[in-house]
């Protein structure tokens, strides 16, 4: 099966002031359709940098980052934006727009992708039902718990039928009981709906929930475990 995401000898160097920092030092990775991959590593291991590259938020210094066989280095700003519409982001701090209700937050993603208003409303309601938030869809983020906010974020990530979900510490900012519910939801999405998931975490327990886990340390992948 063709890889949705493929990193080939991926390198990324930042300038921290005047000091170059090698965040990625040659990462090779392949994610196929239906996969549920956890990227596990301590902070500073380069996993967030890798996530930014997989999400087409940044470009590599060297090597290739292929999304559906397209090298993101060859894309211009507009094409990158188009590409990002096919990627569902879930952030550690939810990153919802505070002035919008749950439903409006989910709809925002769709309106960016030019979906019509009527279509949007129906689709957003369906998605919020999927994540178990139908009753609270007219609440603003401040009126929702951390777990609920992350569910909204997951619904938003699913809004444009993405090729894969890209999650950055999805349970990092919520209590453990709620975290288990979120993990359950993510697993269900992967198993029942066949959504491909790439998740970055430093949480060993969370990583074991994925189908396979790659370990990162100091800018390279140091091992892979199939759970």
């Amino acid at each position: 099966m063709a890889a949705i995401v493929e990193a080939v000898n991926l390198k990324k160097t930042y300038l921290l002031g005047k000091v170059p920092v090698e965040a990625l030092r040659g990462v090779n990775l392949k994610v196929e359709h239906g996969d549920f991959l956890a990227i596990l590593g301590p902070s500073g291991s380069g996993k967030s940098t890798l996530l930014n590259l997989i999400g087409a938020l940044d470009k590599p210094t060297e090597g290739k980052m292929l999304i559906e066989n397209v090298d993101i280095s060859t894309l211009n700003d507009n094409q990158l934006a188009d590409l990002r519409r096919r990627i569902g982001f879930v952030f550690q701090f939810f990153n919802l727009i505070p002035r919008f209700t749950a439903r409006e937050n989910v709809e925002l993603s769709m309106s960016i992708a030019d979906m019509s208003k009527a279509e949007r409303k129906k689709h957003a309601e369906d998605l919020l039902e999927t994540v178990g938030l139908k009753e609270r869809m007219n609440h603003k983020p401040t009126e929702l718990s951390g777990g609920e906010q992350q569910r909204v974020a997951i619904a938003r990530a699913l809004a444009n039928n993405p090729r894969f979900l890209l999650m950055d510490e999805p349970t990092g900012n919520i209590d453990s009981k709620t975290a288990n519910e979120i993990i359950g939801l993510i697993k269900r999405l992967n198993e029942e709906k066949g959504v491909t998931i790439i998740m970055v975490t430093h949480d060993q327990h969370l990583a074991t929930q994925a189908k396979r886990t790659v370990q990162m340390f100091d800018g390279i992948i140091t091992g892979e475990i199939v759970n």
């Binding site: 188009d82 990002r84 990153n95 727009i97 002035r99 919008f100 993603s109």
Partner: protein, 432 residues
């Protein structure tokens, strides 16, 4: 993102900071209101002056004068000032020979007074040929009561409406059939002495309005030219009104030239059109100047918009990162910021036009008692000033103010919007 969605997104951002957006809008409101108020007042002033001048002026007439001591001559024509040039009553014969001239009539003008019993009223005495004068100013030199005799006897007097009824309250100081004394101070006689004669009022003119600079006036009295020659003891006239067979500009110019040549380029020839043109251009300059001052306040408002947008950009860096992560294009981010400015501009311009219009009318009421809303103390003030201003909001000013308000807002938002659109998603998302 669809245009409608861009606007509703921008609107939601504006709504979030109501006070801040309100104050920013206020800046635009003040700028636009100042422009609209000033332009509509000056436009009203221009219209009033034009209308009033046209009442007294006929567009197919020229005024020939010596260019001395007579305002219009100095304004419109080039004459032999201080040259000792004199115009005589019978110079009309010379003028009548010029092509395109239908007729001409001389006027002798003196300050004097009219007296009935103990009532003495200072006024301007105009010696005119009643028949010709009435024919040239057929719409204004018309009797309201009595008649304007075609071949008057020497004692005939016709008076303006404001001489008869100075306070507009039917307290008639002088009326038809009154036998009155006409008095003139002969300053050239040694010693100076009052000349006088007794005449009878045959007609009272209907109200003209306007300034009456050249044409018939509500404030003057009229006596036959032959009587004026005798009474003032002169054949010199102050001006000659020339009626043309057309108000075409070329005709006006060629006749003006011919008249000047006939009097060795010493006579001053003024056309109503020329005076109007000069006044219009003076007012336009004033208008431009005032609008320029008002525009400065709008520029200040623009800087306010820029300032606020930059603050907003910094506050919303993370939001922009989220939008970009969700796949929003840089162009759309730019449009969102610009449409926020456009909404503020539109709102500010709309409110500004409204309040500018109200302001203009309030000023007009204070100034002349004639606004679009009401006539408060109206007529007294109008009579005192002799002029009323009704503010005029032309479609050009209306549209211009709208476009200008929105335009300035957008132009000043360009830089912050561009900066927002250029934010790198990865950096913006990391922003705390």
């Amino acid at each position: 993102m669809k245009t409608g969605d861009v606007f509703s997104y921008s609107f939601s951002a504006i709504k979030l900071r109501k006070l801040r957006a309100g104050l920013t809008t206020l800046g635009v409101v003040i700028g636009i209101a100042a422009i609209v108020a000033l332009l509509s007042i000056t436009q009203g002033l221009q219209d009033t002056i034009s209308a009033q001048l046209q009442k007294g002026f006929a567009t197919d007439t020229l005024i020939v004068s010596t260019g001395r001591g007579f305002g219009i001559g100095a304004m419109g024509g080039v004459g032999g000032i201080n040259s000792g040039f004199k115009l005589f009553v019978n110079d009309t014969q010379t003028i009548n020979k010029i092509d395109n001239v239908t007729m001409s009539t001389a006027i002798i003008e003196r300050f004097g007074s009219i007296k009935l019993g103990e009532t003495v009223w200072n006024t301007t005495i105009m010696g005119v040929d009643f028949a010709k004068y009435a024919s040239i100013y057929s719409s204004t030199f018309v009797a309201e009561s009595g008649v304007i005799p075609q071949s008057p006897d020497n004692e005939t007097i016709v008076i303006g409406k404001r001489v008869s009824d100075p306070w507009k309250n039917n307290t008639l100081l002088f009326n038809i059939s009154d036998t009155v004394e006409i008095i003139w101070l002969n300053a050239t006689a040694r010693p100076q002495k009052n000349e006088n004669y007794t005449g009878h009022i045959e007609g009272v003119l209907k109200e003209i309005g306007g300034f009456g600079i050249v044409g018939p006036s509500d404030f003057y009295i009229y006596i036959p030219i032959s009587q004026a020659q005798k009474f003032f003891g002169t054949d010199e006239c102050d001006m000659i009104i020339v009626k043309l067979n057309s108000d075409n500009k070329a005709v006006i110019n060629s006749v003006s030239k011919a008249i000047k040549e006939a009097f060795s380029n010493q006579a001053s020839v003024t056309s109503a059109t020329a005076v109007l043109d000069i006044l219009s251009s003076v007012i336009s300059t004033v208008q431009l100047f005032l609008a320029g001052i008002a525009a400065i306040s709008l520029l200040v408002a623009g800087i306010g918009i820029m300032n606020i947008m930059i603050v907003s950009l910094i506050e919303r860096t993370r939001e922009i990162g989220i939008l970009k992560a969700l796949g929003m294009k840089s162009r759309t981010v730019l449009l969102i910021f610009l449409s926020e400015a456009a909404i503020i501009g539109l709102l500010g311009a709309a409110i500004g036009i409204g309040s500018g219009w109200v302001l203009a009318n309030m000023v007009a009421i204070l100034f002349s008692g004639r606004g679009a809303f009401t006539q408060l103390q109206g007529d007294q003030a109008a009579a005192a000033g002799g002029m009323t201003i009704t503010p005029v909001l032309t479609p050009t000013v209306l549209l211009g103010a709208l476009v200008f308000g929105i335009g300035v807002s957008i132009i000043f938002a360009l830089y912050p919007a561009w900066r927002a659109s250029k934010l790198k998603p990865v950096d913006a998302l990391r922003y705390e």
